[in-house]
């Protein structure tokens, strides 16, 4: 294989990566917009699902396969279902809507666009450090070692926190039933 050949292939792969990025970014961005615009709470949840899936795709592009899978399992498969569950338990009419006022909409849109503009300005004008990871294969064992090595204490704390949350959520949800009895 000649050097030129390799370069050509690298160019092509970059093109593919760009296309994929725009696809996933488009999915995420449009769905995020949908989350904001949609009046129906269940549809909002579906848009959020697409955002999450799009972000998972972005993780793939960022060489974070494991994170992508975690995103799908925990976010799309767990948290979001929990949210939809909450929607189903709390909405009186099947398509409950609470409309925001027009003033609020105007304020929200203007504030959001100002912040977005400011952020974009800041991002484009800042020179970030360049120190890319260059691994062709995703070092999943390295991730495990990092998680249980350098980040052992946060890991343990998070696990304790999860336990606390589990007990707390169960208590909160159960206390209600006792009251009703």
């Amino acid at each position: 294989m000649t050097t030129a050949n390799i370069l050509a292939i690298a160019d092509q792969q970059q093109a593919v990566a760009a296309v994929l990025f725009y696809i996933f970014a488009g999915i995420s961005a449009i769905s995020a917009l949908g989350v904001v615009i949609s009046r129906n709470i269940v549809r909002t949840a579906v848009f959020l699902l697409f955002t999450l899936v799009g972000v998972a795709g972005l993780y793939f592009l960022l060489n974070a396969e494991f994170l992508a899978a975690v995103q799908l399992v925990v976010y799309a498969g767990g948290t979001l279902i929990l949210i939809i569950f909450g929607v189903m338990l709390t909405s009186k009419s099947p398509f409950s809507r609470f409309e925001p006022k027009a003033v609020e909409v105007v304020i929200a849109i203007s504030v959001a666009s100002v912040i977005f503009f400011a952020l974009v300005l800041a991002i484009t004008r800042t020179k970030f450090a360049v120190n890319p990871t260059d691994f062709t294969a995703y070092p999943i064992d390295k991730l495990g070692q990092t998680l249980l090595g350098d980040f052992l204490v946060p890991f343990e704390i998070v696990s304790v926190l999860l336990l606390v949350v589990m007990i707390g959520a169960a208590y909160l949800a159960k206390g209600r039933r006792r009251e009703a009895d």
Partner: protein, 736 residues
């Protein structure tokens, strides 16, 4: 051949397993089964400890060597097992075993092995006893759950190789003590006692934390032998220069030692934190036997034994004073108590005082030896009292007993054996277990006195000998009183007497402990093993620090230097020891006979002699003073309450005179001004007042308005603010 470390680790984890199992399915297992499971687990620990002991004593693996006269050769002279492991990554400390890591570890030497054998043995017997004692209790499985956790924590405390581990298990042990004292939490007194024990222990633990903090700041979390090596010169009482060049000042060393010792003060219930232990007798009696007599309260002595080489002379003096105060005070109080368990509780305090005193005087072996023998006979005493209480249907007052020997003979005899043991029974140089250990302590105290004299110290140092000596007489007396009132004489409560009977399952532990109380001093080789423990640890440390002699520092004589490689000494030179021993022999040789004889004579027939005696007013006042426990509870209550009251009185006074005065003065001023100005002015004043009121109302309304309770509005305001700020930033950036 499994290593002792692995065996002891298994022995530690078995009770944890029993705890976990019982925690989840204990209730389902029901009354006898849960107890049997817990007993099997701790019994397994006992077996493991015994095997570890065998392995430890015989590195060759031959237990019965026919060529030798003795079955086992005491003291294997082997290296202690010291295994530090990296645990939590932290920043670098100065002298850690593993840089950048908080270590946990295992440290096994002869002391560890002795402690393991004693704890698992007593715990096993107490478990067996409890199966009988707690049979009717509805929370039977939970009791054994707690016991499992306690055994795990206690064994973990003993096997732990770093002070951090010691502290963790220290707290766990305290938790178990809390749970078990308050086991019958329906009783207000029990739950109060539990809270009292917990809080009092916290006070001690603060001291521990302070001491540990000082140590941690200088060394990081190091293993025990490393700590000894680095700070082994503390006994000389001068500054220590660490390898990194940091200087550890002597004063700070003393503060650290006293702080660490304060943890022991709390846990071993030494003066002034002793108040919780008598109240802890509200817990079930097996718990009192296991935790509040034999093992947990001894943990304080164990801790002092572990930090012994890093105690400065000042800290040791503090330790000794604490010990001697406690032992005197507690023995006197025990004279007047009428609750059988309270008598035993104060006796425990007194004996713990002996151990702490021994530590303070530099008799490492004496203190720990007494710990072991005391564990045997005090566990026996408590289990015996448990048997009595069980037989008497939970009546604990001595005046209600009498003559029970005819109804519960086994208990009575074994109890008597324990009384003899604690009194120091001996004939012609042979005695029960308590004789040997107390002998060692008092002989050392005598030697200490001579040493102090010869090095020109104050003669007040002789108090460290004479007070314990007197108390030795007192001990024999009050223990005899307890026995006589319970078992001898005529029954004073006929109904109770008629219904008293023993439960056979409780016999086995009593008899086993009685045998141990008799032979524990001479034939089990505890002191020889402890002696070899010193030798092992010293040799281990000398491999790195050739002049290490942390366990042998003889104070108050001014130690100059230690000769390199000399045999470690537990005390002063042998001739002074000999003198001390002789003095002790003259003073207390027949103390047991005097005390017991006096007790038998006075209490021969119940209160018939003692009763009239206490009618005599001075005696009666002393009796009441002692019966009320020297008013320590009242003292603490009044002191702390008085402080709070004084503070509140202070703030009330401030309120009343200064603030009220200002307000009233202003009010009067206004009133007078108004009065003087007449009704014309009233409009002005009214207008001003109303104006102020209106103003504040308007202001309040204005401030209240944004507090809508609408989250979204808050978010919106926040975001608008940020947006405005960012907009400004954008304009600035773009215009540049």
């Amino acid at each position: 051949m499994p290593t002792p470390a692995l065996l002891l680790l298994i022995a530690t984890l078995l009770p944890l397993a029993s705890f976990t199992i019982l925690l989840f399915i204990g209730k389902r297992m029901g009354t006898p089964l849960a107890g049997v499971l817990a007993t099997l687990a701790i019994g397994g620990s006992f077996v493991c400890s015994m095997i570890a002991l065998m392995v430890w004593l015989n590195p060759s693996g031959q237990y019965f060597d026919p060529s030798r006269q003795t079955m086992i050769e005491w003291g294997a002279n082997k290296n202690p097992i010291n295994l530090p492991y990296q645990w939590v990554p932290i920043g670098p400390g100065i002298q850690q075993d593993h840089p950048n890591f908080m270590d946990v570890g295992i440290y096994v030497d002869s002391l560890t092995i002795v402690m393991f054998s004693m704890i698992t043995l007593v715990a096993t017997l107490v478990h067996i006893f409890s199966i009988g004692y707690m049979r009717e209790d509805p929370r039977f499985p939970r009791f054994f759950t707690y016991l499992g956790l306690f055994c795990f924590s206690m064994l973990g405390l003993v096997i732990g190789g770093t002070l951090l581990q010691l502290f963790i298990f220290w707290e766990l042990v305290g938790l178990c003590s809390y749970l078990l004292i308050g086991f019958w939490y329906e009783k207000k007194s029990a739950s109060n006692a539990a809270i009292k024990a917990f809080i009092t222990n916290r006070v001690g633990d603060f001291g521990f934390l302070i001491g540990f903090g000082i140590l941690f700041y200088h060394l990081g979390n190091v293993t025990l032998p490393k700590m000894w090596m680095l700070l082994g010169d503390a006994g000389f009482g001068h500054d220590i220069t660490l390898a990194s060049g940091v200087i550890f000042p002597a004063g700070l060393l003393t503060v650290m030692g006293v702080g660490l010792f304060f943890g022991a003060v709390g846990k071993s219930a030494q003066f002034p934190l002793h108040v919780w232990l008598p109240d802890a007798m509200e817990g079930p009696t097996p718990v009192s036997a296991l935790i509040h007599a034999a093992t947990m309260v001894a943990a304080g002595v164990y801790l002092v034994g572990r930090i012994f080489p890093i105690l400065t002379p000042g800290a040791k003096l503090f330790v000794a004073i604490t010990g001697v105060t406690t032992l005197t005070m507690a023995a006197l109080i025990a004279l007047a108590q009428t609750d059988i368990k309270k008598v035993l509780a104060y006796s425990t305090l007194s004996q713990l005082g002996y151990m702490i005193l021994a530590m303070g005087l530099g008799s490492w072996i004496g203190g720990l030896f007494h710990l072991i023998t005391h564990a045997f006979f005090k566990a026996l005493l408590f289990l015996g009292s448990g048997s009595v209480i069980h037989a008497a249907h939970h009546e604990q007052e001595l005046p209600q007993y009498g003559g029970l020997i005819r109804k519960i003979p086994v208990t009575g005899i074994t109890f008597g054996v324990a009384v003899l043991a604690i009194a120091g029974f001996s004939i012609a140089g042979w005695g029960f277990s308590g004789f040997y250990s107390k002998d060692m302590i008092l002989a050392h105290a005598g030697a200490f006195g001579y040493l102090a004299e010869s090095s020109g110290k104050s003669s007040a140092y002789w108090l460290f000998f004479y007070l314990p000596t007197i108390i030795a007489y007192v001990t024999a007396f009050y223990m005899t009183r307890c026995w006589m009132l319970t078992f001898a004489g005529k029954p004073r409560n006929q109904h109770l007497y008629d219904h008293a009977r023993e439960a056979p399952i409780m016999w086995a532990p009593l008899v086993a402990l009685a045998v141990l109380s008799v032979i524990g001093g001479k034939y089990l080789g505890v002191s020889e093993l402890l002696q070899s423990g010193i030798r092992e640890s010293t040799q281990y440390c000398r491999a790195v620090v050739p002049k290490f002699d942390g366990f042998g520092t003889a104070w108050p004589a001014e130690a100059t230097t230690t000769t390199e490689g000399a045999e470690p000494t537990a005390a002063a030179s042998s001739d002074i020891m000999e003198k001390g021993h002789e003095l002790m022999h003259h003073c207390v040789g027949w103390a047991w006979l005097v005390g017991i004889g006096l007790g038998v004579i006075i209490y021969w027939n119940g209160y018939s002699i003692a009763g009239p005696l206490t009618k005599f007013p001075p005696v009666n006042y002393v009796r009441i003073w002692l019966y009320r426990r020297m008013y320590f509870d009242e003292l603490y209550f009044s002191v702390f309450v008085a402080i709070v009251m004084a503070l509140s009185w202070l703030s009330a006074t401030f309120d009343k005179y200064i603030i009220d005065g200002i307000v009233n003065g202003v009010g009067g001023l206004v009133k007078r001004t108004a009065f003087l100005a007449g009704w014309n002015d009233r409009y002005v004043v009214d207008g001003a007042v109303n104006g102020v009121a209106t103003l504040s109302q308007e202001l309040g309304a204005a401030v209240r308005a944004p507090q809508t309770g609408r989250i979204r509005m808050y978010v919106t305001v926040l975001m608008v603010a940020i947006g405005l700020g960012l907009a400004g930033a954008i304009i600035v950036t773009l215009s540049r």
